[in-house]
């Protein structure tokens, strides 16, 4: 075996784009990237969306997603230039020498086939093992990855196991053919923090046990710091910085890397509660139609004018359901909601236009929350027409004011959503909700789909606007860093209950209840060896009990 498993030299990757109203043309996504990976080592590729990190990972399998093509440079795997290999050789490489773990195992498993069939398929296809041997190996991997009932879990269908379990099954799928290299493409990004930590540890141990090399692709520097030997920071298809993990984390040279490494730049002083809350939620219990259990149990929270209440919890904790109840989309079974001094009707039909105007919402997916065929001006102007009957020059003036407030400016007024970046789209959604002059805005995971630096900008904007407009935010999120950055008070939700509630300083200070402790300690920290420390700490605790 040569001492370099994967050698990438001056890799250039391009694609044809079809912008609306323009002629299709070729663009370059990756502009000459080079790196080496030795057997058994882990290289972290890190960057924001559009950095080309997934594209580079897939290029090591000679694969281009949706019309993406390698346009220049060399990719050597095990001493062979895969760009010059025949189609048959490339097929043997894929699934045999190099395997892939995707971000969403739920989408990457075929819903119509049993997990075992899919896990052993590549190993059998490439004649690495007989079907029987492959199954035995898969069961071993299931056990190694900490899956429950490893002997039988392969007989299940993908929808019968949880998201975290499926992500481990995907890792087993990648390791089953005994590859030399595994490409991990954001393998824990879609998971809750408490699940992420287990999957991360499982992946790390599996890499160490099998001696496989890995490309670990992620946007989360704290995560990659836990698993990789070297890190390459990418931005817009260029290498920003490339070095060993210790150097990148503890001594970053480039400004961009420093921005990624430094924790959130936002400082937010906690405000004291006022006398009269703008929103009070009293004893809300709710369930969805057709379900025979409650998804919210006796929820009580208050939000004061001009302040931010962060509702934090993992998927399934009921935080979005709470938003549905407050907006009137889901009438509760019990309890009531008081808003701006008046009792709100439990269902949407019973609410006045004034109720609707004063309670606005911003969503996670900005691009599906806007009509793609309307311009930014029309989108922001709509609430002005609807609530204030504004027309013509008056409306135009107000739209421009709002565009200035969200730091975009008048030049955006005739653009379509498709022409905006993710962060710009979210800004337009913010402007639309502000146009109604609301007393309160529900922000449902508004920064979850954005890159960290862009998200940072959005949070800053929201805080600035809060000062100007004196609007209250009910901020729903799973991200504790976001909570720290912007909230005045916090409600921690778990399985439909508020398990911890109070001013920020109090909620985030010990002593913690078990769940909050688990949640807080699961957030990856930007120092080497954090993962081992947490896992060792937890093992000690459980041994002590």
């Amino acid at each position: 075996m040569s001492d370099t498993l994967l050698k990438v030299r001056d890799l250039k990757i391009g694609a044809t784009v079809y912008p609306p109203g323009e002629k299709p043309h070729d663009i370059e996504i990756v502009h000459g990237v080079s790196f080496d990976l030795a057997p058994g080592k882990v290289l972290g590729l890190i960057g924001e969306s559009g950095a080309g990190k997934s594209t580079i990972g897939l290029a090591s399998m000679a694969y281009g997603r949706g019309g993406v093509e390698i346009t220049g440079g060399e990719v050597w795997v095990n001493g062979r230039d895969i760009m010059k290999s025949s189609l048959g050789d490339v097929r043997n490489l894929r699934g045999g020498e190099v395997t892939y773990v995707s971000q969403s195992a739920a989408a990457s498993f075929n819903p119509a086939k049993k997990i075992m069939d899919q896990v052993v398929e590549a190993a059998v296809e490439h004649k690495k093992f007989s079907r029987k041997e492959a199954e035995a190996r898969a069961r071993e991997l299931f056990a190694k990855l900490g899956l429950p009932d490893p002997d039988n879990i392969g007989n299940r269908y993908p929808h019968q196991v949880s998201g975290g379990q499926l992500q481990r099954c995907m890792t087993a799928l990648a390791l089953c053919p005994e590859p030399d290299l595994v490409v991990f493409d954001e393998p824990t990004t879609a998971l809750d923090v408490t699940t992420q930590i287990d999957v991360l540890m499982a992946i790390k141990e599996a890499i160490a046990d099998t001696g496989v090399a890995a490309l670990y692709i992620t946007h989360d520097l704290a995560v990659v710091a836990q698993v990789s030997d070297d890190i390459m920071v990418l931005r817009m298809g260029d290498t920003v910085e490339y070095g060993n993990t210790d150097q990148i984390i503890n001594n970053p040279q480039e400004e961009y890397t420093q921005a990624l490494v430094s924790v959130r730049s936002i400082e937010h002083e906690e405000k004291q509660p006022t006398s009269e809350p703008v929103l009070s939620v009293d004893g809300i219990t709710a369930r969805y139609k057709g379900l025979n259990f409650d998804v919210l149990h006796n929820v009580n929270v208050e939000l004061h004018p001009g302040q931010t209440l962060a509702v934090v919890g993992e998927s399934g904790s009921g935080k979005s359901t709470l938003a549905r109840v407050i907006t009137g989309l889901l009438p509760p079974r019990d309890g009531e909601i008081t808003f701006a001094g008046r009792k709100l009707s439990s269902d949407l039909a019973g609410r006045s236009r004034e109720d609707l105007r004063e309670l606005q919402m911003i969503y996670q997916m900005a691009d599906v929350a806007m009509n793609p065929r309307q311009t930014v001006g029309t989108i922001i102007g709509r609430p002005l027409e609807f609530y204030f009957n504004m027309r013509g020059a008056e409306k135009h003036k107000r739209v421009v004011e709002l565009l200035d407030e969200i730091e975009l400016g008048e030049k955006f007024i005739d653009r379509y959503p498709a022409e905006l970046s993710g962060g710009q789209k979210q800004r337009v959604c913010i402007a639309r909700s502000l146009a109604a002059k609301p007393k309160m805005i529900i922000c449902d995971e508004v920064t979850s789909a954005l890159d960290p630096l862009v998200a940072d900008g959005i949070l800053k904007l929201l805080l600035d606007l809060q000062k100007i407009e004196d609007v209250a935010y009910l901020f729903i999120t799973h991200d504790l860093a976001t909570v720290r950055a912007i909230s005045d008070s916090i409600a921690v939700m778990y399985q439909g209950r508020v398990v911890r509630y109070g001013p920020k300083s109090q909620v985030l200070s010990p002593p913690f209840d078990d769940y909050t402790d688990l949640l807080l300690s699961s957030v990856p920290e930007m120092h080497l060896g954090w993962l081992e420390e947490v896992v060792a700490h937890r093992k000690m605790e459980s041994a002590g009990n």
Partner: protein
């Protein structure tokens, strides 16, 4: 109860309800037509007295609702009534002809369904290249030409010019299976051409849609060949839409076969129905209508049930 059993029994109940509705609609519509069975038997020149007498005799004076339930009761017991023209038992005549029609439809289906699915897979494999375009062009051409025209063109070239097959698709009980197949080769061919396009296009569209899925990428990254990816990973998920369009076309093979049967003088349901309509033989028309409705609803119900069974989430609940 297992959700599958619940869903399937719901479908069955719904099918029966639909069939009941269809029978009421068929009866109601023939009722609404001007003239009745008595008029049909006696002809245009009948005297009012003769008509009145016959109506009394046939029980046509009683309320429509009573007659409907009598008729429905008969159907449930397998009694479809008597033909007005030849006084023969309709159930018996239909039984034989339905058998012939089903035979023709089956032969056409056995050829067309696998062929359509295979062509669909092939079109996906060579998407937007010449094999795909050729397959689409040919099937769309044949589906766009009226079937009677295809029928006559085929008769002209294959049986008149080349003399390979008889232009008349007459079959009877004394013929061997091979002779029967030989006799119906031409109508089966024409029917195949008619139904091929829709099934092939649907297979292509359903699978192309799935080819965007993340699990197809997973399969490609396992190093499988394109055809393996399509057949092993895309096809099992495309069963539901494909079965639906296949059943729709099978129903068409039974119900829409009328024109082709007439062109080839084939003794099936189509011929029988056309004869009955020209002779204003209302009970026969009613019976044919109900049989067609039953076939249509039955096949679509089968499609629904197969779709339910093909869904792993329903087959293997959490």
């Amino acid at each position: 109860m297992h959700p599958i059993i619940k869903l399937v029994s719901q479908r069955l109940a719904l099918g029966l309800l639909l069939l009941f509705g269809a029978s009421a609609l068929i009866f109601g519509l023939t009722e609404a037509l001007p003239g009745d069975a008595a008029q049909a038997v006696l002809g245009q020149s009948a005297t009012p007295e003769a008509l009145a007498n016959l109506r009394e005799e046939m029980g046509l004076n009683r309320p429509a609702l009573t007659r409907y339930f009598e008729w429905l009761g008969g159907i449930v017991q397998g009694d479809l009534g008597q033909s007005l023209t030849n006084k023969l038992d309709i159930a018996e005549s239909i039984g034989k002809r339905l058998g012939n029609t089903l035979f023709l439809a089956c032969v056409a289906a056995i050829v067309s369904v696998p062929l359509a699915i295979f062509l669909g897979l092939l079109a996906v494999r060579y998407r937007n290249r010449w094999p795909d375009k050729l397959i689409s062009a040919i099937t769309l051409t044949t589906v766009s030409i009226p079937e009677f025209l295809i029928g006559y063109v085929v008769i002209y070239y294959v049986s008149v010019k080349l003399g390979w097959f008889s232009s008349l698709a007459m079959i009877n009980d004394s013929m061997s299976f091979g002779q029967k197949l030989n006799a119906i080769a031409l109508p089966a061919f024409v029917l195949t051409l008619v139904v091929l396009a829709q099934m092939m296009r649907m297979t292509r569209a359903a699978i192309l849609n799935l080819m965007q899925s993340a699990y197809i990428e997973t399969a490609e990254l396992k190093g499988l060949s394109t055809f393996q990816v399509i057949a092993r990973h895309a096809f099992p998920n495309a069963i539901s839409p494909i079965v639906n369009v296949v059943m729709l076309n099978l129903a068409y093979l039974v119900v829409g076969v009328v024109v082709v049967e007439v062109v080839f003088v084939y003794p099936g349901m189509g011929q029988y129905l056309v004869d009955a309509v020209t002779k204003r033989d209302v009970p026969v028309v009613l019976a044919c209508g109900v049989v067609f409705a039953a076939v249509y609803i039955g096949l679509n119900m089968v499609a629904d049930i197969v779709s339910i069974l093909a869904n792993p989430r329903l087959r293997h609940p959490k």
